[in-house]
């Protein structure tokens, strides 16, 4: 499933949009060193981290989208950078575990 369809079906908040790519994988984490070395390409990255470094890491790992969980909103710097770099930045209400189950089930991954 592609990012736009996931956002619509799951009812996620869309903070920023990018290229509509297929979600092939997932990764959950908040420690940026773990994410940058372990997250697979074209993944949905689920996190509660909402500062500007998230955008830099997302670009380097080439993820399909970032999903901020637990009702977390991006801070101003992250929002600005995500928009500037055309990174998909979505928001979800539930915790990382619940949202992981939802993404996995909707995307069949």
């Amino acid at each position: 499933m592609k990012v736009a369809e996931l956002a619509e079906k799951a009812g996620y908040t869309v903070f920023s949009e990018g290229e509509d790519r297929e979600i092939e994988n997932g990764y959950c984490g908040d420690f940026l060193s773990n994410i940058i070395s372990r997250a697979p390409d074209s993944c949905a990255w689920l996190t509660v981290m909402n500062n500007v470094n998230v955008a830099a890491v997302a670009t380097l790992i080439d993820c399909a989208c970032i999903l901020l969980c637990e009702g977390v909103a991006p801070d101003d710097a992250l929002l600005a950078r995500a928009k500037m770099q055309n990174i998909w930045l979505l928001g979800a209400k539930e915790n990382v575990f619940e949202e992981t189950k939802r993404v996995a089930s909707l995307c069949g991954i």
Partner: protein, 139 residues
């Protein structure tokens, strides 16, 4: 051998530009047709180095030399230096503050990741003077 050189200033004052040098190098390597696996290794190693300079050394310079078969990266700072390099290389060891940890850094994986994803790594550091990290990644 012919090489392409780049030099980047790594701003130590804020995090908003951290990662710019790594992203620029990543884009360049992609355009040159370097394999995705190699591009990823370079991006990881260089980003960790860049972040280290921001966190620990008030910024610095990144000098990059791209050859047909490899990339050489020199990360130079005038920060506090590393007193015990062996200890700093240990996975999980970090001197980052609570504030830095709350930003998602300080897992103590920066130097270990740089080592893991490079083919050669050398640290030259003098306490009170600064640190130069050399990274070589073969394509």
């Amino acid at each position: 051998m012919e090489c392409i050189k780049f030099e980047y200033d790594v701003d130590g004052e804020n995090f908003s530009s951290a990662g710019n040098a790594s992203e620029s190098v990543k884009r360049t390597l992609k355009q040159m047709g370097v394999s995705p696996v190699s591009v990823r290794r370079v991006a990881i190693a260089m980003y960790e180095g860049e972040i280290n300079m921001v966190i620990h050394a008030h910024g610095g310079k990144a000098e990059v030399e791209i050859y047909p078969d490899r990339i050489d990266i020199y990360l130079k700072d005038r920060g506090p230096g590393i007193a015990d390099i062996d200890l700093a290389m240990k996975a999980g060891y970090s001197t980052a503050t609570e504030n830095i940890r709350s930003l998602g850094f300080g897992a103590g994986m920066g130097l270990p990741n740089m080592k893991k994803y490079s083919d050669e790594m050398k640290i030259d550091s003098t306490v009170g003077v600064g640190t130069t990290v050399f990274l070589r990644i073969n394509f």
